[in-house]
Symmetry: C2
Subunit: 325 residues, 2 copies
């Protein structure tokens, strides 16, 4: 299949990045990061996470961050929440685009470790959450499977198992008259490779040809962009990423393992192969460098170190012009 | 085209890595790195570089490094040299597999900056070098084009220009009755992407279907493994890489830009997609971590941080077995 003409990029840096940092990032810096990212015309920026400050103290200032940033037209400002309480906090800010997702983890062990629930318990809870969301006039439009390619606790995940989970979530959506528009596959612990991406994406496309697919890719073992390219060639046009590769991977063997793919590296790839993103790469590279200052340590993004190709192209063209005149 | 059954990996870490380090690495540590890498059954390890100690003081101990390491059967131990003097030093060690390459840089500006010679002067010098090599009974078997995809000084490099240079080098080889076995394309400054890789590789394959292609890929902007995968799908089965991503990129905009693709990340990709490398990944990951100790700072390799998937698979299988019994 040909590459898509344009892809949608969901910028997760402010949320993914801030929840893993050991040293507290000042609220004002979190706000500054969101505001800088707002200059880049992302369709979506995930601003923060409404979770228990007891478990994730880094996110205790979620309301302050939301109060502080400035919305720009054309961008949706979203958040993560894990339960009804978090959802209510998000809605109460009256400033966010609160979405609903029917979500499950493909690994039983990871599900229990991460959320203290089995897969079946998660599905029951998801059913309950649909009711709560509908009471708040939020209609979930996304179905999501985490650890869809492999799990550090369970090893490889069988794509047929993932298909079964998507089937159950899609059935649940149908039972509740929800219009699902997107199926998200998350490679939460960096197990995917271009071949496994093609296999699962192909299976989903065959079964649900009308659905858009979103890939949430982690670069834990360096294959993030190879996977994104393989997926784009299957027609996938919707990706999550985080500026500078903010976020890290809390489940990796080592603390400094890379997390989400770096947004500017994904945009660089797209620019070079002629896929539109609508994102201003030159500014984004500056913000990636600024993100390192904000968290106070190096981040895994590469283009911010290698340099923006168009700036080299501009210099080269100028030198050629000077030589001619 | 299907993926190759097996690829050849040339390990460049000891040479690429040591020439760029600002703090001197003790000779004994350089030797230890080569000896550790010898445990991994590489077809080739590039041990050192015979260059002027005035220009590259890090390589002043080339003879001592060569004297110190222990050869293992099945591995070729090679080196870099830039002129007749370096070549003579390499041969005089009486311990290395000294190869010859007909090499040129596709960018006129980079050629002048890097070697103080134009492309035409380089081609003349190459012609002269064939004679010197033949006097020493070394028959070059490789043709190589550096900066084959783009250049920080000249911008994009036209693939037709690269084809013209390969044509001239192949003609020179034919004139001197040399049997060329491999055409190397080097993405010296990290300009390639999967689409440009396919274009140039396809052009070379169409023109010289009998030649093997080697790709020397840099991960300067994060596309190294995406490029390697795209090339493997074109049948390319010969790659350069450096353990832990040792080496950096001296021509990048920023000092800590990644250089060569990390060998263990390439081997990880191959293992996961069923392409043999013959390289022992678990041991190589340990050596990558050791390489960070040797140079005294973090290196860009990712699998050494993310963790070896087979170790997670083993643990998962053990837990399943225990649950069953």
């Amino acid at each position: 299949m040909a590459l898509p003409r344009k892809i949608v990029i969901h910028e997760l840096g402010p949320r993914e990045g801030m929840q893993i940092e050991k040293n507290p990032v000042p609220t004002s810096e979190k706000i500054r990061l969101v505001d800088m990212l707002s200059e880049c015309s992302f369709p979506e920026i995930e601003v923060t996470s409404f979770v228990s400050p007891k478990w994730v103290p880094q996110m205790a200032d979620a309301e302050d961050v939301v109060a502080g940033f400035t919305r720009q037209p054309g961008t949706e400002y979203t958040c993560v929440y894990l339960n009804a309480q978090g959802l209510k906090r998000a809605v109460a800010t009256n400033k966010l685009d609160v979405h609903g997702s029917l979500s499950v983890t493909a690994s039983e062990t990871f599900s229990k470790k991460n959320t203290n629930r089995t897969i079946d318990e998660t599905l029951l809870e998801t059913e309950r959450r649909i009711g709560i969301l509908q009471e708040m006039n939020i209609a979930p439009t996304e179905v999501s499977v985490m650890a869809a390619f492999g799990c550090n606790y369970e090893g490889d995940i069988d794509p047929n198992h993932v298909m079964g989970l998507v089937e159950r979530l899609m059935g649940m959506a149908a039972d509740n008259a929800l219009k699902i528009r997107i199926i998200q596959l998350a490679d939460t612990m960096g197990w995917a490779n271009p071949v496994s991406i093609r296999r699962l994406v192909g299976m989903i496309q065959d079964r649900w040809p009308e659905q858009r697919i979103n890939l949430h890719l982690h670069d834990t073992r360096g294959l993030g962009l190879a996977n994104a390219f393989a997926a784009m060639e299957m027609g996938v046009d919707d990706f999550d990423s985080a500026v500078a590769g903010l976020g890290g991977c809390p489940y990796a063997g080592f603390k400094d393992a890379p997390g989400n793919i770096a947004t500017e590296d994904l945009v660089h790839l797209c620019n070079e192969i002629g896929v539109e993103t609508g994102v201003h790469l030159e500014r984004l590279i500056e913000i990636a460098r600024e993100a390192e200052t904000i968290v106070g340590h190096p981040l895994p993004g590469k283009v911010m170190r290698g340099g923006y190709l168009d700036s080299y192209r501009r210099n080269a063209a100028q030198i050629r012009n000077e030589a001619r005149s």
